[in-house]
Amino acid sequence: MTEATIASPVSLPAPRSRTRIVRRVLRDPVGITALAILIVAISASYLAGFITPIDPNATDLSSVLAGPSGAHPLGTDSAGRDVLARLLWGGQSTFAAAALATVVALAAGVPSGLIAGYYGGWFDAGTSWITNMLMSLPAVVVLLAARAALGPSVWISMALFGVLLGPSFFRLVRTSVISVRGELYVDAARVSGLSDARIISRHVLYVVRAPIVIQAAIIAGIAIGIQAGLEFLGLGDSSAPTWGMMLNEGFRNVLLSPLFLLWPALAITLVTAAFAVLGNSLRDALEDDEITPRTKGRAIKHIPHSEAGLVPTGSVAAADTDHLLVVRDLSVEYPRADGTTKRVVDGVSFHVDRGEVVGIVGESGSGKTQTAFSVLGLLPETASIAEGHIVFDGIELVSRTSGAVSRSRMDPLRGTRIAYVPQEPMSNLDPAFTVGYQLSRPLVKRLGLSRAAAKKRALELLATVGIPDPGRTYAAYPHEISGGMAQRVLIAGAVSCEPDLLIADEPTTALDVTVQAEVLELLRTLQSELRMGVLMVTHNFGVVADLCDRVVVMRDSRIVESGDVVTILSRPSEDYTRTLLASTLEGKTPRTLLLSDSAGETA
């Protein structure tokens, strides 16, 4: 057990993420194209004098609005000026102005965002207010006002536009800093005596610099668009050629020469699009980079109704009808990125009888929760049941064709005959609806009760699960009740239709130990009153000892052993079960080593 396991062998030699992101963008064909377009456009603009010797302002009235020719590769405009020269020289001011806007926005947004996010307080309140103010100003209108007062300078416009765009950096930086500041590793750095400046430069800036680059690319694109827009309105400085002005002239002469409109429109679109696409590509690279092995998909599979009855119930083995629930040779798989599949449940078989409590116990990653979700038909969208049967009260639930639980057979059962109690009480109630609505709505839909009758029944249920003031809790929103109360509400919902089988996924793990004892007591009472079969998923042997009749021990997606609770907990036959029990602390001599091989970790 001394061998250290590595969670993701794919990304081993990767000490610095920045180089990895750059490499990923370079491998993305769209990203590299955008980058190439920008490099070509920028260098062509600044090398304009070498590319074409023609003065962009030189008029030649003998060839007005001429098509492409040897002397004028892209033709001439209404004053006989060379379009290519004007386009290239116009690019210079375009890129310089976009750079100015971006730099001003960075200067306005980044330092203030860092300070506001890190220190909070009055500076945060003040800058956030200014940010909100700037964000409610329509940029074009403000730029018009500035033009009216200060004259047609592209530099003034773009500097002002930079200020107006400052909030986008401010908000980005501030939000990231606030989330990083709350991280425990920043606390650890403080305990180590790192100064604020060191913490910001080492831990905080590291996180925000990639998003800043992305945002800068996007903002440069927006600045070029706005700048061209103002010039198109005829509000720019007319002494030098600009793309927007060319667009304006082209638009006015569109009926005479549509081609002349095309060139500036193409230039503007290509460059703004390149910036936007580059930003997008950078973002994708960054997001790919952030996907950790911890994230689990939770979207739910949609199974078409049409495949009803493809597997005849006659195929159910005769022995399977004796029990309330039979799971036989169940295997669940997830696809991997490389095309192979990963088995999270492998050949699992067990049964639950009426009025019996069966525990599935195991550590994280053992497949116990996946097994429970299989029975409920609530596995994530990507999961598939590769093999095996789930038979509830004689009904085969697994559809061979779809590799999932049959929706047409499951729908009438779920919520009425098979119920579910989740682990985390708070996240399992919809925050936007009252407790009462969430409790009574399924009663209306599934049992066909009237609203009044459903409310009456819901209030009774709340009283049954030991809520002191049912009326008040009924009208409350989830955030107004405690975690213990919320778990009682969820239990009330689960038993509201008096199910035959209750599947409880770590129902007390998120609760304080005193509340846990009460909730276990409640489950015990309800189970014996309603004669429910219960499948209890847990990692806690105390909970198993308290509630279960039989227990199934799982490890690495397989069953290790199963049997009645007294045998398994006092005379386990498998080493793994013994190791788990040895790890429990109750009854051990304090301050002694629990395991002999404590040198390393397995998983």
């Binding site: 190791t579 301050r591 080593l593 395991l595």
Partner: protein
Amino acid sequence: MTTSNGPLANPESPLLEVSGLTVDYPRKGFGKEVFHAVQDANLWIGHGETLGLVGESGSGKTTIGRAILGLAPVSRGSIRFDGQDISHASRRKRQQLSSDLQVVFQDPYTSLNPSMTVGDILAEPIGIAGGSRNAARSRVAGLLEQVGLPRDAIDRLPREFSGGQRQRVAIARALALRPKLIVCDEPVSALDLSTQARILDLLLTIQLDTGVSYLFVSHDLDVVRHISHRVAVIYRGELVEQGEAEQVTQDPKHPYTQRLLLASPVSDPVRQAERRNARKAHASKS
């Protein structure tokens, strides 16, 4: 193997002495009402000793640890560490303290900077303390061995490790400067049962080898009983009971501690049935 018991009687000069500690947070909304996260707490920790601090969520147990570390504001009272008052220590003072006073947090996923290698994470406190690069490198290698991590961990990122391994990295970071006291804030509650056992074993071994003291904050009475010399129980911001680990966790005097003990289930069905009945009797009595 049984570890030696630490000092039990209140020594002349404890390593840490907290007296009358109160931590207030302003309540949201109108008025100047404050929320007492911790009220008038008194406790001490001797050299080489573990004090377990047990309580439920929102009881203020974490706040006490954070106040000692300078991460929560001290409204009243004093915290004396190694003979000096540190309740309002400056950043500079904290930096000096950091070689003696360290921390291990609960969540091994957010307590390590995901973009730094394990080697950088461990070298950071050594660098601040003014160690040379080479010294830091060999110290890091020593630390990895001490916490049972492979040598090549030095160039890897935290996300390549499991929860238990990350917690080992966090413990190694705390040990880097050979501190006198480590505040362990729920260091095993995010871990699986067998991983928890291994980390507890590691913490015990380290204490035997180095003589470090622990303030061990946890919600789990069993864990606290196992690791501590003495135990303090906190309920709604107030310390309700304090004493030797065995007495507090097996034969508690305060009704709340009794409730806590009877509520935690045991893994023997027969004894759990007894405990359950005892809990019901206790509940109907009070």
